[in-house]
């Protein structure tokens, strides 16, 4: 495994080396909360960041397996296309924003707007999430083992949401749906993939009521 010490070099050099690697493993030391760590990777390299990461860690990831042994700042794994990103600690706001694919696992809590505008990726949070989670989420899945803040799934499109804990409130057009056997099966598989132990049967399922898909004056009060 290659070791890159950010007390000895800078983010540009780090990303240049990671983006140029076809495979293999990298350990990043002394990340110091720097921004855009391991951003824009395109190959199945394995990257372990030992410490806290700043904004946009693993941004737009493609294929790489990235682990943060610490907390992550705003927009971790934003617009991820594929691969896996795991945060051992907590994540700030907009975690997994607009992710098209791949799996983001946050073992701790996530802040506001987790999985905002999700476009097909999977986001699994071991702890709780803040307000406006899955706002305008279009496709993909958000799983929360803990509790959820206000306005979950506001203006939701076709993304699926699973929550084990409490929900402060649902956003416009987000409704609780029947947790079917198919839902339980796919959730159990996702939890296993995320490496988090939980009974899929203990979750509730939320999705779009699809009442706001078209302009309708009778829905004006919902906005």
């Amino acid at each position: 495994m290659d070791v890159i010490d950010l007390s000895q070099t800078d983010v540009r050099d780090l990303n240049r080396r990671l983006q140029g690697a076809k495979d293999g493993g990298f350990q990043v030391l002394h990340p110091g909360g720097e921004h855009a760590l391991a951003a824009g990777l395109t190959t199945p390299v394995a990257v372990t960041i030992d410490g806290h990461a700043g904004y946009y860690c693993a941004g737009m990831n493609q294929e790489a397996q990235i682990t943060v042994n610490g907390n992550a700042g705003t927009g971790v794994a934003e617009n991820m296309m594929s691969g896996t990103v795991r945060v051992r600690g907590d994540a700030s706001q907009s975690a997994g924003a607009t992710a098209h694919g791949g799996l983001l696992v946050i073992e701790g809590d996530a802040s506001a707007r987790c999985a905002i505008s999700l476009k097909g990726g999977d986001v699994v949070v071991g702890g709780s999430v803040g307000h406006m989670a899955a706002f305008m989420a279009q496709a993909g899945r958000l799983v929360v083992l803990g509790d959820v803040g206000a306005d979950l799934g506001d203006s939701l499109y076709e993304a699926q949401i699973y929550v084990r804990g409490s929900v402060v409130s649902l956003g416009a057009d987000c409704v609780e749906k029947e947790m079917t056997a198919e839902h339980k099966t796919e959730l159990a598989a996702l939890l296993e993939q995320a490496g988090l132990e939980a009974d899929a049967g203990a979750f509730r399922c939320y999705g779009s009521e699809r009442q706001l898909y078209h302009f309708n004056i009778d829905n004006a009060g919902s906005y």
Binding site: V11, R12, N15, R16, Q19, H35, A36, A39, G40, T42, G54, Y55, Y56, G59, M60, Q62, T74, G75, E78, N79, M81, Q93, S94, A97, T98, H100, R113, I116, S117, K119, G120, F135, M136, Q138, A139, Y157, E158, Y213, H214, F215, I217, A220
Partner: protein, 435 residues
């Protein structure tokens, strides 16, 4: 005077119509295009051609260069354009594929750039466009890192002149299977895009976002920041502080494919004062000509181009006018205009998807009315005309490069324009607000 037949200034027929439409439908009016109200504009400025104290250049013999380099502040691969007139961001979805292809072909033929829009980049557009600017929008519809890398520059869209503070809108008629797939949306829904970016708010965050975009694209691409003209001085300063290579300022005359009429007419400031405010902001930061200023919103003629450059812009961008070159609002298929409740010369029905001339539509029958090659030829002719007109004015002012035009070359015809552009009222040395 008989007041029985006198129209009210406060409630003229168009206002009464709108009140009664609102009462009937219970929802704001939605339309395309830009502000239709009269605003102070470049029409209110004129050039002072050379005479005894200034020497003109020979109109047909002496060079007057038009090239511009954008993005050299931080990007390792700045873009070099032959003319300072670019094609503004317009989405595939709002426009049909033929229109996008025509714009790309024309821009390429003229050595300038064209720009994507909401929904990402189509292969046809990339292939047709030698220099393609990629819009990075709040919705991030269709946005992928591969597309960022395939672009020649990146434009972070904070807002646009037609609707500063508002998000995109694309009604269900235009959300075809292909558009829906590109945007990861259900076919046929009324798409209302986010107005704020999902993972940053404010200039401090934007600085970090721009750094991420540079990391992902190897610090090669120029990064623009586009704002609708409102608090222009502050917006430009903050964009520069955030690390932009270029700032795009879009005045309230700038068009859109769909938004609320109230947004188009009642939000933002005209392009004329916005240019001057933006230039002053750059000068105050000692960044004028280091961070390029691109101005859009109601640019129609070579005169508009020259006046924007004379006020200090590095380039202009055209949207509506380029569509008009493609026959938008042309007196063709008049029965189809009538079916939309409008007529050639007044059409703003872009949002319906029923564009009579095949520009702003996804309908294959309508779209077939626009041949991309013929359309490209028309836009190329138009861009060529704008360039020659701009050169004509620059030579008349004795300038060997269009960027050598300056405010001193102009006077204003109205007090309002003099105050907004900070050039003297014609026949005086008076600039309102300046001493």
């Amino acid at each position: 005077m008989n007041n029985d037949a006198k129209e009210s200034a406060t409630y003229p027929p168009r206002v009464i119509d709108e009140i009664q439409r609102a009462a009937s439908e219970g929802i704001y009016a939605i339309r395309g295009a830009g502000a239709k109200r009269h605003v102070p504009s470049f029409d209110d400025l004129v050039f002072l051609g050379a005479s005894m104290s200034r020497y003109p250049l020979e109109g047909y013999r002496e060079r007057c260069d038009t090239n511009v380099v954008i993005g050299a502040r931080h990007a390792s691969k700045p873009i070099e354009l032959d003319i300072p007139i670019t094609i503004a961001g317009m989405s595939f979805g709002a426009l049909g594929a033929n229109a996008k292809q025509a714009l790309g072909l024309a821009a390429t033929a003229m050595g300038t750039s064209t720009t994507t829009g909401d929904g990402g980049m189509t292969p046809e557009e990339r292939e047709a466009s030698k220099t393609l600017v990629y819009q990075y929008l709040p919705s991030r519809y269709g946005m992928t890192p591969d597309q960022l890398r395939h672009a020649d520059a990146i434009e972070v869209v904070v807002g646009q002149g037609a609707k500063p503070g508002g998000g995109g809108m694309l009604l269900g008629q235009k959300i075809t299977d292909r558009v829906a797939e590109m945007r990861t949306l259900p076919t046929g829904i009324d798409q209302r895009s986010a107005c704020r970016h999902p993972d940053w708010t404010g200039p401090d965050d934007l600085e970090i976002k721009i750094r991420e975009l540079r990391e992902i694209t190897n610090w090669e691409k120029p990064i623009y920041v586009k704002v609708g003209a409102t608090r222009t001085r502050y917006d430009v300063m903050l964009a520069v502080k955030a690390g932009a290579d270029a700032v795009v300022v879009d005045g309230m005359q700038g068009g859109t494919a769909a938004t609320q009429d109230i947004f188009i007419e009642d939000v933002g400031i005209p392009t004329l004062p916005a240019v001057r405010l933006a230039v002053e902001a750059l000068q105050e930061l000692d960044m004028h000509r280091k961070v390029q200023l691109i101005v859009s919103g109601g640019i129609r003629t070579g005169g508009d181009v020259a006046k924007a450059l004379a006020l200090g812009a590095d380039a202009v961008s055209i949207g509506m006018a380029a569509l008009m070159a493609l026959n938008c609002n042309a007196p063709l298929y008049e029965e189809d205009y009538a079916a939309l409740g409008t007529r050639p010369g007044a059409c703003d029905r872009c949002h319906t998807g029923r564009c009579p001339v095949g520009v702003a539509t996804q309908d294959p029958v309508l779209e077939a009315r626009l041949d991309p090659e013929e359309g490209a030829r028309r836009v190329r002719n138009y861009l060529s005309t704008l360039t020659m007109e701009c050169q004509t004015l620059a030579r008349a002012c004795g300038k060997s490069h269009v960027h050598n035009l300056e405010p001193e070359d102009m006077v204003a015809l109205t007090v309002e324009a003099a105050a907004m552009a900070k050039v003297p009222l014609a026949g005086t040395d008076w600039i309102p607000g300046s001493g």
